[in-house]
């Protein structure tokens, strides 16, 4: 008997007592959303929770976005900027830095030499202050938001903002590789106290752009 068959046979023997007993239902009476908010209030909550976990939050509109991004990368001293496919070219029109494309052939060491990365996202969750990237257009491969030390993420508000995790799960496709980001890299491993900045980008800037 293969190990697969052995394990499955053991499981069936172990759960034999349940056969014939009524099937218990999973209670789904937990809340779909915690609180009743307008779209603008959800964006405010997202901003508050992002900032609470040490993300730097900026707000602008379509017209102000290129100028704001140019300023953020200038202040950071960014000389090389990773830009994934599908990012609206207008966003980076005013940025003064060398563009690095997201290519499968790039090595991790090459990406390690890049100063900053700019992406969009698939959605953001207000109640937890979370950005979700699904490797779609304007987001790139998972590693590009990991290796550079500075990540700027643009969230189109309010339409990319959901309130809660139940709402987020409905909109996400499990077939895509997902990265959920809640603030910059952190650890609680020294005396169970939170410290920001370990292996992922130590600076996370989030631009909430009304479009």
């Amino acid at each position: 008997m293969s190990s697969r068959e052995t394990i499955l046979a053991r499981v069936r023997a172990a759960t034999r007592d349940a056969a014939g007993t009524p099937e218990p239902a999973v209670p789904r009476d937990y809340l779909r959303v915690h609180g009743d908010r307008s779209p603008a209030e959800s964006v405010d909550l997202l901003a508050e929770n992002l900032a609470d976990y040490r993300a730097l939050v900026h707000r602008t509109d379509t017209g102000g976005l290129p100028g704001l991004l140019a300023r953020l990368f200038a202040e950071r001293g960014t000389r090389t900027l990773l830009v994934p496919d599908g990012l609206p070219p207008a966003w980076t029109a005013a940025v003064d830095a060398d563009r690095v494309p997201d290519r499968a052939a790039s090595t991790a060491r090459e990406l390690d030499a890049v100063d900053s990365v700019l992406t969009g996202c698939a959605l953001a969750v207000a109640e937890t202050g979370t950005l979700v990237l699904d490797a779609g257009p304007g987001q790139g491969r998972r590693r590009i938001t990991l290796i550079p030390d500075h990540h700027v993420c643009v969230v189109r508000v309010p339409e990319q903002v959901v309130d809660s995790l139940p709402q987020a799960m409905e909109r996400l496709d499990p077939a895509r590789p997902l990265t959920w980001i809640s603030g910059p890299s952190a650890t609680s491993d020294i005396e169970l106290d939170r410290v920001e900045g370990v292996h992922g980008p130590r600076t996370l800037e989030v631009v909430l752009a009304t479009v």
């Binding site: 052995t6 023997a13 172990a14 759960t15 491969r141 995790l165 499990p174 609680s188 020294i190 992922g200």
Partner: protein, 505 residues
């Protein structure tokens, strides 16, 4: 080259399982040493108290916490009830997504599978994401025996590995070390494993985190093979889910060419939607955060993004034995948050090493004796490593009634019985050392079944009350050494009632 290999083998990580070099001490003896270590107790008290208040605040933000908890428990119970079906569904989904599924009955088989998979890549080192399952099976030691070096990349695991130490907490394996001790380990040991610690390293947590970042970066950027666990596996979509904080998980899950995930069979959940419950329960219970900094999910290898080869090793190693116990199986709901450790008065004083397994604290006290059986003195002592205060049950996000299982396992130890061991029904003999307890219980049962004898016994007890010792002699000595014997009243209740009809004495 051979010499270097031997040197590495000599530094192979210590392990709880596999082949212990010495017979592990039973919990009470191990705890004596721990409670006499003032630094250890100070470190544990500081860390557990820090997290307790934060967890309570994070949980209080959600008014529907109890309903989420009930849903989490129910989802896990449904999973366990139909585990065969969900595992087959998971296997089909992972395979359809381009992954390879392997099944391991025990630790030895899992270690052999991983070793073979690593060898097939030609690599002689792997980077690792913190994983309880690979701790449980002693994977690092097995890889070292095969000449493969495993680098732990979680900060706390790194501290443990560099210090040639053992983990003592599920979430924070180096919780028993304070910042000064961590600084010393980094300064003294980092150079043996790769990039040395920066000169003049201080003990601020931010400096220590920076030292770990620099030390591990070269490992990540050159890694060909990674080994991980998973917090959840979704049966319907074949999706793996890993929650983490530092980004070491993302490094391991996306940079190497080959990814091997070793996951216990009970980690499966039926649907994608079920994650909406667990992604609310786990971070708040674990690190007291609304959400942990990074969560990665993947369903098989992604095209041109991350590892080209994905292997899932499904691990039994005692889980089906646990599943066969109708009371004990609830331990398999565990999502490894470690909230029960952080509130436990026994864990806070004894520390994690005394529990002698990868799973310390209250959950370890019910999980380890079920996964490994109660044959050794250590494993038989674990169900007694508790005051039954119930704080662990209160905080458990999937409502595992740990005190209930502890009492159930004490019965197993004291009285023996028929249990499933490695898939086969076996008669377990009562443990030695509980003979007096069994004799006393048998005598009590006989007497209480016979009203006349019971009445006579009560009269004899009250009649001799002035002669009772303050400490029990013989086998009862250990019991009364830490407890006062209950005072015996002047007359039995029945006699008092006959005399007064409840009108007072």
């Amino acid at each position: 080259m051979t010499g270097a290999r031997e040197g590495e083998r000599a530094r192979a990580p210590r392990t709880f399982l596999g082949m212990p070099r010495t017979r592990p001490a039973a919990f009470p003896q191990a705890a004596v040493a721990a409670t006499e270590d003032a630094t250890l107790r100070g470190n544990l008290t500081h860390a557990t108290h820090t997290i307790r208040g934060k967890r309570a605040a994070a949980v209080a933000e959600l008014p529907d916490w109890d309903r989420l908890r009930a849903a989490g428990a129910a989802i896990k119970d449904d999973t366990l009830r139909h585990l065969d079906r969900y595992l087959e569904q998971l296997e089909a989904a992972v395979t359809a997504a381009g992954g390879h599924v392997h099944w391991a009955v025990d630790a030895a088989e899992a270690n052999a599978i991983v070793t073979r998979l690593v060898r097939e890549t030609g690599a002689d080192e792997v980077v690792k994401v913190k994983s309880m399952a690979t701790q449980e099976i002693g994977l690092n030691e097995a890889l070292a025996e095969a000449g493969i070096r495993a680098y732990e990349t979680d900060l706390a695991e790194l501290i443990v590995q560099l210090g040639d130490d053992l983990p003592s907490h599920i979430l924070v394996p180096a919780i028993h070390k304070n910042r000064g001790e961590i600084r010393d380990i980094f300064r003294d040991r980092m150079a043996d494993w790769g990039r040395p610690a920066p000169a003049g390293l201080g003990d601020r947590p931010a400096e220590l985190a920076e030292a770990a970042r620099l030390h591990l970066r070269e490992k990540f950027l050159g890694a060909k093979v990674a080994v991980s666990g998973a917090n959840f596996m979704v049966a319907e979509s074949g999706t793996m889910v890993v929650l983490e904080s530092e980004g070491n998980g993302r490094m391991c899950l996306t940079l190497p060419e080959t990814l091997i995930s070793v996951v216990g069979i009970e980690k499966v959940v039926p649907t994608w939607r079920d994650l909406e419950v667990f992604l609310q329960l786990l971070p708040r219970s674990s690190t007291a955060e609304r959400m942990n900094p990074y969560t990665s999910t993947w369903s098989g290898p992604a095209e041109d993004d991350g590892p080209r080869d994905f292997h899932l090793v499904l691990l039994d190693n005692g889980r089906t034995d646990t599943l066969s116990d109708q009371v004990g199986r609830q331990a398999l709901r565990c999502i490894r948050c470690s909230a029960c450790l952080n509130v436990c008065p026994v864990y806070e004083r004894a520390g994690g090493h005394a529990y002698g397994s990868a799973y310390p604290g209250p959950i370890g006290a019910i999980l380890t004796p079920q996964l490994r059986g109660t044959a050794s003195a250590l494993d038989a002592s674990l169900p007694y490593a508790s005051t039954l205060c119930g704080a662990c049950y209160e905080v458990c996000p999937v409502a595992i009634d740990i005190p209930e299982v502890l009492v159930h396992l004490r019965t197993r130890v004291a009285e023996g019985g028929t249990y499933t061991v490695r898939g086969t029904k076996a008669v377990i003999k009562p443990a030695k050392g509980h003979a007096a307890e069994r004799a006393a219980m048998r005598a009590a049962r006989w007497t209480m079944d016979r009203p006349r004898a019971y009445g006579a016994a009560l009269r004899a007890t009250t009649g001799t009350r002035r002669l009772h010792p303050r400490r029990l002699p013989g086998p009862g000595k250990a019991w009364s050494a830490t407890r006062d014997l209950p005072p015996v009243p002047q007359e039995p209740f029945r006699a008092w009632w006959r005399r007064t009809r409840g009108a007072g004495s």
